[in-house]
């Protein structure tokens, strides 16, 4: 697939922004500025970026407890995400959802969902609504390798398939579910093979190659939009950080992490662009500096924002 160089630069900027954001979130958490816990997607930037970039602004996306990168790639403001993570009134959900439960309807983000697998039937439902109302849109669902063992995955993907709903199920296989390696809980190597049992295409993408993710998700989005139904795209990737901040990662070796860091998606695109003589080190550093500045501003904005008015606690139950 021919990808315009402007788009490649957009990919680079988005991935760098996600990387800076996640590192900032980690820093703030360790400084005691964030309640609860945070699930970082450091190292998985290419999946979020390649997948969301294949969507139109009014297409829908839903995601998981590890959803910061997905939201950034879908166009949600950094300030609003950071403020939500910090439980402020200026967050996308006015602090009600926090890091795991972010909704931004204006950008088509129909929820990052904290229950593993909980968002998959909802994504099928978004596809159903699109079909019922003739909206011509597509719903993209991010899910993890762990979620593909949930009953809800089976039910929801099958239903999406049978009704040919305009959904793309993007499975981020980072080889582990919480602290349990994938190889201990499935007998197969490629989760995309599960698509066969639903009669839909199962595609494998290199989850650390944003151009590959973009090409394959775009094809699936076109297929969905044309009425041919869903696709399951397994993006093979890896998270550099633990399941949540503070996870001692007893389930994997430092060597394994280092091996995967060598496949850094940002470094790979950077190398590609430099080889194509489209990018210089200087320009790259400027991109990083700009993203870092945006992230720093988002953090300052969030820290300066008030908590939600206690009087609002009963709002929107119904």
């Amino acid at each position: 697939m021919k990808i315009a160089k402007e788009l490649k630069f957009q990919f680079l900027k988005t991935m760098v922004t996600i990387r800076c954001f996640e590192e900032k979130a980690k820093e703030l958490y360790l400084a005691g500025k964030i309640r609860g816990t945070v699930h970082l997607s450091t190292g998985m930037e290419a999946v979020a970026t390649g997948a969301c970039s294949s969507l139109n602004p009014d297409d829908y996306m839903n995601s998981t407890h590890r959803g910061h990168g997905h939201c950034i790639a879908k166009g949600v403001g950094l300030r609003e995400i950071m403020a939500e993570i910090m439980g402020r009134a200026t967050g996308v959900c006015q602090g009600r959802g926090g890091t795991m439960h972010m909704f931004d309807v204006a950008h088509g983000v129909m929820g990052t969902i904290g229950i593993v697998g909980g968002g998959i039937p909802i994504a099928t439902g978004l596809g159903l609504g699109i079909q019922q109302l003739g909206l011509g849109r597509v719903a993209l669902c991010f899910l993890g390798d762990g979620a593909s063992n949930e009953g809800a995955f089976h039910e929801a993907v099958n239903l999406g398939a049978v009704w040919r709903l305009p959904v793309v199920y993007v499975l981020e296989n980072n080889l582990v579910g919480d602290t349990t390696p994938l190889r201990e809980v499935v007998l197969i190597d490629d989760l995309a093979d599960r698509a066969k049992s639903y009669g839909i295409p199962g595609v494998i993408a290199d989850g650390n190659d944003v151009l590959d993710v973009y090409a394959k998700v775009s094809a699936a989005v076109r297929r969905a939009r044309s009425g041919d139904g869903p696709t399951l795209i397994e993006c093979k990737t890896y998270r550099w950080e633990g399941h949540q901040i503070g996870d001692p990662c007893v389930y994997r070796t430092k060597e394994e992490v280092e091996q995967w860091k060598k496949k850094c998606p940002i470094k790979r695109l950077k190398t590609h662009l430099m080889r194509e003589k489209l990018l210089t080190e200087k320009r790259y550093e400027a991109i990083v500096a700009a993203s870092q500045a945006e992230v720093d501003q988002a953090a300052a904005f969030a820290m300066d924002s008030p908590e939600p008015d206690p009087q609002t606690v009963l709002d929107y139950v119904y």
């Binding site: 959900c93 129909m110 039937p121 009953g151």
Partner: protein
């Protein structure tokens, strides 16, 4: 006015809403050519086609989750769960997602969906097909719950539920499906959150839920012969709850008895009893009584099952005790 059965009244309500608003659609198991295992959707597929009447795989979590997602972007799904017991398969979608999404999104979406199901026993369906588990959902902020007991109420309430911003759990009881009642020819709606006094009385307030409304009315007739005048209130709507109607009645009668088919322990009667006590303590001449299902998984054999569901005699016995008449 016409006399129709509960299931006919329900079907009329569903059809009228399908006709009125093209965003409304039905989904569920066997609701297509078969018309639903209880006939709730009979004839609707032929009239409205397979995109308005969508027959699903046996996939409760997907059915409910699909209703959730579709409603978030403006469709109006009415999902059928065949037996109340089956809703456990979809528990996360109901209680973990649907109940919470409007709140945790800070009001960014509405979920104008209805989940219809039927619970209750007495027809030999056995332990896994006889439950009345409204209490599980009564506990969830974010859900609305209605339990109509008559043809008139089921039609008026299903239309309101479908038009409501939702989400609504619409709980029927199959034992009511063939009961008959009158419905107007012209369109009518019943608001959510309104109980109804089905029988006026002065000595005792019986608050009944779903099929127990009919048992309570039978019990009231028996009680009348004994000189006890029972007022029977049909709760109709658990959330929003019309506690004012109930409390006003208790202030008049000074005695209250809650009756539901669901297991007595932790049933909605416990909450009603607590609220009545809080609000009408000075008016009560006796503790609030509760008649509920025997606390067993509903057995199949009739000699066992008939002990599980409250009958008019059980209601009469409790009522007499509240009136200080002991056998």
């Amino acid at each position: 006015m016409r006399t129709v059965t509960y299931i006919e009244a329900l079907r009329e309500g569903l059809e009228e809403e399908l006709r009125r608003d093209e965003r409304v659609f039905l989904l569920g198991e066997d609701i297509g050519p078969h018309g639903g295992v209880f006939g709730a959707t009979r004839g609707l597929l032929a009239k409205y086609g397979p995109t308005r009447v969508r027959q699903t795989p046996i996939s409760e979590a997907a059915i409910v989750g699909a209703a959730c997602g579709a409603s978030m972007i403006g469709a109006i799904p009415v999902a059928e769960i065949m037996y109340f017991d089956h809703i456990a398969v979809a528990m996360d979608q109901v209680a973990g997602e649907i109940a919470k999404i409007r709140y945790m999104s800070n009001g960014q979406v509405r979920l104008p969906l209805v989940i219809r199901t039927q619970g209750g026993g007495g027809r030999g369906k056995g332990p896994q097909h006889s439950s009345s588990i409204e209490a599980w959902f009564f506990h969830c902020p974010g859900l609305k719950i209605v339990m109509p007991a008559t043809p008139y109420d089921v039609k008026g309430l299903i239309k309101t539920a479908i038009r409501d911003d939702g989400p609504v759990l619409f709980l029927e009881n199959a034992i009511l499906y063939n009961t008959k009642g009158e419905v107007p020819d012209e369109e009518y709606l019943i608001p959510l959150g309104r109980a109804e006094i089905k029988r006026q009385g002065t000595d005792l307030t019986i608050v009944a839920v779903s099929a127990m409304v009919l048992r309570a009315l039978d019990a009231a007739q028996e009680l009348e012969k004994m000189g006890i005048s029972a007022e029977v209130i049909d709760v109709r709507s658990l959330i929003p709850l019309d506690i004012e109607c109930i409390v006003e009645s208790v202030k008049k009668t000074s005695r209250a008895l809650v009756v539901h088919e669901a297991w007595r322990r932790g049933g909605v009667g416990a909450e009603l009893a607590a609220q009545i006590t809080e609000r009408a303590f000075d008016y009560l001449d006796a503790p609030v009584g509760r008649v509920g299902g025997l606390e067993v998984p509903s057995p199949y054999a009739e000699s066992l099952e008939r002990q599980v569901i409250p009958n008019p005699a059980a209601i009469v016995k409790q009522a007499k005790e509240l009136c200080n008449i002991f056998e």
